[in-house]
Every structure is written in structure tokens, then in C-alpha cells.
């Protein structure tokens, strides 16, 4: 693991929610490998979402949270800025365009399918109509939802099924050509078939972007990811290649969790 | 930057409520000065309201309209509370699903009818019935109280129903699962759970009844006298204001502002109390 295989790096990172008396994350150290899928697992409330949401600083929507440590986002040359130092609105916008996010529940905007994808591009300052159109199409294709939507681009995105909405949200994020995509339990609200489609899509996407995924489904983590991090009560207990973690964990707690002894 | 400007505008708008409230208080207080200085706190229990037509003064006391306001409100509440609770229980626990919607809509429509309509209807259709059954002159404290009750029942029932609907279905189910009857579930689980909301709804309705003008103006009789029987006419603060504010001058109008101030402060205090209950519930 050298710097140039990493896209992000979490260093001695602690996080305390506004008003909370104790930190929800304690001195986390975690590399995010480029063009790989990293899974975050752990029992409910262990801090998976908190960590994920630190990576594009979506926490900053709510004031008063407290960060410590570093989260570096590396560019092509292996140089990395600490995203925790970002202060200006413009830099936030840039960060979020570089590090996209997909939520547990699909979040289509109340507008047409086309506009949902175009919206991010417009926010990014792209004005050229034909460029937008091209990138919307491309993104919908990349998100494997072009076939189902090409004849109804002008219709409201609310009319899509849950699984389609989730793929639309992925398309929306992909359109911005991010470096990293963060997924927070992206399939837990979906049926088995949609789940399969999204899993396939995520596997496909890693060609272009690096992926971090939070999941409760052990099978999903083992099927999908290259690296797995196990968290417990705000600590990162164990991190490593997925095979290693699942077949031969070094820590007893990890084993207990994976074998379903709790959680 | 558009964002900052937008935020500032929003902030300004949000503070407006505060300024209006303070404004109301300040203006009423200011205009009531003359009467405040003349009568002070004695105003509250003075029973005379007499203009001295020679020297622009007079003797003014708010006791009668204050008592009238309180009594008409009391009658309204005594009638409205059980009925509104009954309706809320009917809607949340008894009514067949198919009935809930239309009945709720009907109740809410009843709440939407302008109060002046209640007044007119009350004067021409309800007052004669009161007169022929209970006696008295038709218009008076009782009639005003009943019509006021009819007016606030839908409002109270709607909020109480909403509060009762916040009770998680599993909680009710677990009471039923212990073998409780519907009434026992309502009494032991729903009411205690929704207590804050229910008390809040009662206080809000109380505030409404206190400040209601039009329905009462047609029906209370508008007489400056303490009623000795429940059917007797009297007056209330809003009615006195509606009838005589425009024509009053000098010390008398100042006394009117004083009355308005009293009404405002009382309703402010009541609503704050209601908010306190809601607030404790929701936080």
C-alpha cells in the first residue's frame, strides 16, 4: 500500500457530533484504494455512516460537529489535500463533485428524469446544452438505466420503481465524473432483483471510480468488495483484504460479528 | 452573493412575528396610558362604565366585560371538551375506515365556516330555541356560550384527533394484546400518551373562545351588566370593542385600549402555556 495506489486516506480521524459528550469515531486510520471497492461493516451504531459522511463532509450541513485528524484526497500525482481544512463554499462544492454519494433510500429530486441527471451538471457550471445532453445520456448508460428511461426522460422521476430510482441517483452522481463514490447501504431498501442489478452496476463502476460501501449484508460485502473494514463502537477494529477478513479474521470480535454471534 | 441576501431576507421575515407582537403590545400599552394612569389595576374590578359627557372623562371599569368573557368561555369549554373528546375518540378508535375520511372532512369544514355565519345562524335559528326551552330572552350568556362551543368543537376535535393519532399503533396493539377494551386502551394508553397534545388543544380552543368576536356579538346581548342567571345578557371584551370602539373618544377609548391589552395579554399567556405543553411533548 503506497500513496499512489490510494485515492483517499483517513488518518487518526476522530469525530464528535454537535452536543454529544463522547466522540462517535475514535482515531480511525483507513486507506481507500484507487479503483477498488472498500466495504465498511459493523453493528448498528458503530459509526459506519458517520465515517462515510465525513468523507465528503456532508456532516457540515449541520453545524457544531467536531473533527480531528486528517482525511486526504489524492489527485493524479499522489498529492493530497486534507479535506477537513476546507472552509470556502466553492471548495466544498468541488469536493462534493469529486466525492459523490448515494444514500440508503433513493433520493430522486422532484423533477424529470432528465433534469435529475442534468441538475448536477448545471450546478457544476456547465451551460452548453448539447454537452449536458451527451453527458446525461452517457451517465444513464453507465448506470445501466438508459434502456428503461430513454423514452420517458421528460417524465417525473417519482414514477420510477425503487431500484430504478436508485440507479438514477447513481447516474446522477456518475455524470459528474467523480473520483470516489460513497454508498450508504444502497440496496437495503430494495428487492432481490434490484439488489442484483445494483451490485452488478457497482462492480462495473469500479473501472472508473473508487468506491466505499457501507452494508449490513455480510454476503454482499464478501461478494462485492476488495477490502473490508470492520468497525465497532466508533473504533476501526480490523482492516484488510476482504478474503482475509471473512475467512481468517485476526480479531475475535470480527469473527463473532461475521458469524452472526451478534448484531 | 445571492445566498447571503436570500438568507438575510429570510431572517428578517422570521423576526417580523416578534416585531409585530412587540408592536401590538407597545401600541396597546401606549394608547391605554391615560386609562392606566387614571384607574390603574382597579380597572380590572370596576363595574361602572360611564362617560362623562361634559368633561371628556368618565369612570370606566372592565369587570363586566371581563366576567362576561370568562363566563361565556367557561360555558363553551364545559360543553365543548366532552363533545370534542368524544368526536376524537370516535374518529381514531371507533369509526369504520370508510367513515373516518368524510367525517374528518366534515368536521374540518365546520371549523372553516366563518364565525359571523355562526353568529347569524345563532341569532335567527338557535336563540329562539334556547328561549323557548330554557327561557330568558334568547340572546344572553348561555346562547353565546353554546354557539361558541359549537364553533370551537371542530377545532378542538381536529387537534385532539391529531394528537391521538400520534400514538404508535403498536402501543395500542400491545394494550389490546393484553386483553384491554377500546375504552380502556383510550383511557390508559391513548390519553396519557397524547396528554400534552390534548391539553394543548384545549388551551388553544380556550384562546379562540376568549378572543371570538363575531359569533358572540350577535348573541351575548351587549349589556353592561353582571348576569344573575345563565340566560341573562351581558357583554364581553371583544363584543364591547366591536360595538363601541369606533365611537369612543378620549378617556373612554383609552379604556378600550386597556381592555384590548388585557385580552391580548391573557391570550398571550394562555397560548404560551399551550406551547409549553406541546413543547414538552415534542422535545
Amino acid at each position: 500500500m503506497t500513496t499512489d495506489t490510494m485515492i483517499m486516506e483517513v488518518k487518526d480521524f476522530s469525530f464528535t457530533y454537535a452536543g454529544a459528550s463522547s466522540p462517535s469515531l475514535k482515531k480511525i486510520n483507513l486507506p481507500i484504494e484507487k479503483n477498488k471497492i472498500t466495504a465498511l461493516i459493523g453493528p448498528s451504531g458503530c459509526g459506519k455512516s458517520t465515517l462515510l459522511r465525513s468523507m465528503n463532509r456532508i456532516h457540515d450541513l449541520y453545524p457544531g460537529n467536531h473533527y480531528e485528524g486528517e482525511i486526504r484526497l489524492y489527485d493524479g500525482d499522489g498529492k493530497g489535500g486534507n479535506i477537513l481544512e476546507i472552509k470556502k463554499e466553492n471548495d466544498f462544492i468541488k469536493l462534493r463533485q469529486d466525492v459523490g454519494m448515494i444514500f440508503q433510500k433513493p433520493t430522486p429530486f422532484p423533477m424529470s428524469i432528465y433534469d435529475n441527471v442534468a441538475y448536477g451538471l448545471k450546478l457544476a457550471g456547465i451551460k452548453d446544452k448539447s454537452e449536458i445532453q451527451g453527458r446525461v445520456e452517457k451517465a444513464l448508460q453507465d448506470a445501466a438505466i438508459w434502456g428503461e428511461t430513454k423514452d420517458r426522460l421528460k417524465e417525473s422521476a417519482m414514477g420510477l420503481s425503487g431500484g430504478q430510482q436508485q440507479r438514477l441517483c447513481i447516474a446522477r452522481a456518475v455524470a459528474l465524473k467523480p473520483d470516489v463514490l460513497l454508498f450508504d447501504e444502497p440496496t437495503s431498501a430494495l428487492d432481490p432483483i434490484s439488489t442484483g442489478a445494483i451490485e452488478e452496476l457497482i462492480a462495473e463502476l469500479k473501472k472508473d471510480v473508487s468506491i466505499v460501501i457501507v452494508t449490513h449484508n455480510m454476503q454482499q460485502a464478501s461478494r462485492l468488495s476488495n477490502y473490508t473494514a470492520f468497525m465497532y463502537l466508533g473504533d476501526l477494529i480490523e482492516y484488510g483484504k476482504t478474503d482475509k477478513i471473512f475467512l481468517n479474521p485476526s480479531v475475535k470480535l470480527t469473527e463473532d460479528y461475521i458469524t452472526g454471534r451478534f448484531g | 452573493m445571492g445566498g447571503t441576501l436570500f438568507k438575510n431576507f429570510s431572517f428578517f421575515s422570521a423576526t417580523l412575528s416578534f416585531f409585530i407582537l412587540v408592536g401590538i403590545f407597545a401600541v396597546l400599552f401606549n394608547y391605554a396610558q391615560e386609562a392606566l394612569q387614571e384607574f390603574g389595576i382597579n380597572f380590572l374590578y370596576g363595574e361602572t362604565w360611564e362617560v362623562d359627557e361634559e368633561d371628556e372623562g368618565g369612570i370606566f371599569g372592565g369587570w363586566i366585560p371581563i366576567v362576561g368573557t370568562l363566563l361565556s368561555t367557561l360555558i363553551a369549554m364545559v360543553i365543548a371538551i366532552p363533545l370534542a373528546m368524544g368526536i376524537a375518540i370516535f374518529l381514531t378508535e371507533i369509526a369504520h375506515e370508510k367513515l373516518v375520511k368524510p367525517v374528518s372532512i366534515a368536521i374540518e369544514l365546520l371549523a372553516a365556516i366563518p364565525s359571523i355565519i355562526y353568529g347569524m345562524w345563532g341569532l335567527f335559528y338557535f336563540a329562539p330555541i334556547v328561549q323557548s326551552t330554557v327561557g330568558g330572552d334568547g340572546v344572553g350568556l348561555l346562547t353565546a356560550g353554546i354557539v361558541l362551543a359549537i364553533m370551537i368543537i371542530p377545532f378542538m376535535a381536529a387537534i385532539t384527533r391529531d394528537a391521538m393519532n400520534t400514538v404508535p399503533p403498536v402501543l395500542k396493539e400491545s394494550a389490546y394484546a393484553m386483553g384491554a377494551t377500546t375504552f380502556e386502551v383510550v383511557k390508559d394508553v391513548v390519553m396519557p400518551y397524547a396528554k400534552g397534545g390534548i391539553i394543548g388543544s384545549i388551551i388553544l380552543a380556550l384562546g379562540r373562545a376568549l378572543g371570538e368576536t363575531m359569533a358572540v356579538a350577535f348573541l351575548i346581548g351587549s349589556v353592561m351588566s353582571i348576569p344573575s342567571r345563565i340566560t341573562d345578557p351581558t357583554t364581553s371584551i371583544p363584543v364591547l370593542l366591536a360595538n363601541n370602539f369606533a365611537e369612543a373618544q378620549d378617556l373612554e377609548i383609552s379604556a378600550m385600549y386597556y381592555l384590548a391589552l388585557i385580552l391580548f395579554v391573557v391570550s398571550f399567556a394562555l397560548i404560551s402555556l399551550a406551547k409549553f405543553y406541546f413543547f414538552r411533548k415534542t422535545v
Partner: protein, 313 residues
């Protein structure tokens, strides 16, 4: 710019003002918006200069007019009747002596079968029911004129636009119409209202004993007879309370109603006098029909001269 004149005040002449303004509007297109809110409100509105003119049934003394810088003149004469709601007793059947009227309104007579009432109504069966006295909730010139009459009989009753009534069972209504409505609704009630309200509503009204001890029915003739005794003078802005006049055929409770104009509003004043000029020449018939007594021609001429003098014609 459509001309519009704003007025508020006395409800006593409201029925006739309503006809006059609406006919004047049809004839000339000029809007005269008169809101009958009561004389008290009228006087206040004009002193605060919230309106172009005000109506009042209580004439203002010269001192008051000077202080508030107002002109004043009468428009029409009306009368106050005692309307009642008694089962089986028809219009004009009830006779009320002066003593009885005062007694009912000062609270010494509380029941219909009181001897003071019964002695003059031998043929009627008066119920043993409490009397509900219908009065005004607002300040009113009608009340002023009625209490003026009562005061002639019983000095204890003060002349006032809004006295504190001592009667036992009182019910108050806003403006003449409110009182009329109350009388209509409430059995065994009696109240004082302007004659035209009695007419249009078909209420029953009592014969009232006049200064010379005669019981007089409220009729146009008895009003006209009463009006003859009024004396007007432009020198005191026509100040006159004409109640309880002499004459064996005079109905005792009559009153003139007045307009108040703000001295400084020359332009609108001219519009008002133009309207009144139209009223004096075209409005008499409507007034008579509603039971009012038009001003005598010589009084009208005096008023015209008064306008000239004040340069508001």
C-alpha cells in the same frame, strides 16, 4: 375621478339617508357613502376628520362647534316611538302615560301588569311578565333625544347618548336596527326606536301621553303638529332640541337630525351642500313615505342662507 363623499354617524335618519343617497347616485352619479354607526361615532369621526361629513341627532352647542371647527344644520325631523312585543296587543292599543314610560325605563316598573300601566289600559289583558327593556348598545342620538324626553318627566334620568339604564331586564342592540331586531325577537319587550323602523317592520307602538296629558298615536300628522313648535336660528347653528313640544295634538318624542361639516374642507363641503340642496328640493316625498317630517320651507331657506354665509354653497 369619481366623486365620493364619506359620512358616518346617526342611525336615526339612516333609512331616509339610504334612499336619498341611492336616488342621488342614480340621478347624478355622485357617491355619498353614509355609514350609520351612531351619533357618537359620527361626532368622533368628524372631529378626527376621518370623514367628509357626519350625522348626529344630538346637536352640538356652539362652544363645541367652535372648538372642533364645525358647521352644523338640520336635515330632517323624525320621531322616536315606543315599540313593544306583547302577545294579543295590537299596534296602537297600548297607552303609556308619562309616568309609566319613565317608570319602565328607570326600573320602578318591572312587570307588564303594573298598576301604572294598567290604569290607562283597562280593555287590555296585560301579562304578569317581567318587562324586557330594549336599549342601544352604542352611543346614540336617538337615546339622547329619548332621554331628553324622559328627563322632562324624571330628573333622575340624565340626558345622555349612552346612559346607564336602571331597568331590571335590559337588552342592548347596536343602532336602531339592532334594537328593533331585539324587540322583534323577544317577547314582552319594549324599546325606543325611530318611527320608520317601526313602519317598515310592522312593529306595534304605544300611544304616548304628551305634555298636555293627551295620549297620542305616532302618526305623520302628530309629528308634523309637533314639528311646528320647533324654533330654529342660524345664529346658533340651528341648535335646538325639539322634544316634548307643546300642543294638544303633538306627538311628544320628536327630534331633528343634523349634519356636521368641517370648516376647512371647502371643496367637499360644497359637494355636501349640493347633495343637501338636491335633498331639500327632491327628497321630501321619500322622507314622508318613511315617516319623517321634512323641514319647513322657511327653515330650508335659512339653511341656504347659512351656507352662503359660511361660503360653502
Amino acid at each position: 375621478y369619481a366623486e365620493e363623499l364619506k359620512g358616518r354617524g346617526a342611525s336615526f335618519p339612516a333609512p331616509v339617508y339610504k334612499v336619498w343617497t341611492s336616488e342621488y347616485y342614480k340621478a347624478t352619479g355622485v357617491k355619498v357613502n353614509y355609514t350609520p354607526t351612531g351619533s357618537g361615532d359620527g361626532v368622533k369621526s368628524i372631529t378626527k376628520r376621518m370623514v367628509d361629513f357626519a350625522g348626529t341627532d344630538t346637536p352640538l352647542k356652539q362652544k363645541g362647534l367652535k372648538k372642533e371647527k364645525l358647521h352644523m344644520f338640520p336635515t330632517v325631523i323624525g320621531s322616536v316611538v315606543l315599540a313593544y312585543n306583547l302577545d294579543g296587543i295590537k299596534d296602537g292599543e297600548l297607552k303609556l302615560s308619562r309616568k309609566a314610560v319613565a317608570g319602565i325605563f328607570n326600573g320602578t316598573i318591572t312587570h307588564w301588569d303594573d298598576p301604572a300601566i294598567a290604569e290607562h289600559n283597562a280593555g287590555l289583558t296585560l301579562p304578569h311578565e317581567p318587562i324586557t327593556v330594549a336599549v342601544r348598545a352604542d352611543k346614540s342620538g336617538t337615546t339622547f333625544n329619548f332621554t331628553y324626553f324622559l328627563n322632562q318627566i324624571d330628573e333622575q334620568i340624565k340626558v345622555s347618548k349612552k346612559p346607564t339604564w336602571k331597568a331590571n331586564k335590559v337588552i342592548a342592540g347596536k343602532s336602531n336596527s339592532g334594537v328593533s331586531a331585539n324587540i322583534q325577537q323577544i317577547k314582552n319587550s319594549i324599546g325606543y326606536i325611530e318611527y320608520s323602523y317601526k313602519m317598515t317592520l310592522g312593529l306595534s307602538a304605544a300611544q304616548v301621553e304628551n305634555k298636555e296629558g293627551k295620549f297620542i298615536n305616532p302618526t305623520l300628522e302628530s309629528f308634523q303638529d309637533a314639528a311646528k313648535y320647533a324654533t330654529w336660528s342660524p345664529d346658533n347653528d340651528f341648535y335646538a332640541v325639539i322634544g316634548d313640544p307643546a300642543g294638544a295634538t303633538s306627538y311628544p318624542i320628536v327630534a331633528a337630525t343634523f349634519l356636521l361639516l368641517p370648516e376647512e374642507k371647502q371643496a367637499t363641503n360644497k359637494l355636501v351642500t349640493k347633495f343637501m340642496e338636491w335633498v331639500y328640493t327632491h327628497g321630501d316625498a321619500a322622507a314622508v313615505e318613511l315617516g319623517y317630517v321634512p323641514l319647513p320651507e322657511e327653515t330650508k331657506d335659512q339653511i341656504r342662507a347659512y351656507w352662503e354665509a359660511k361660503r360653502i354653497r
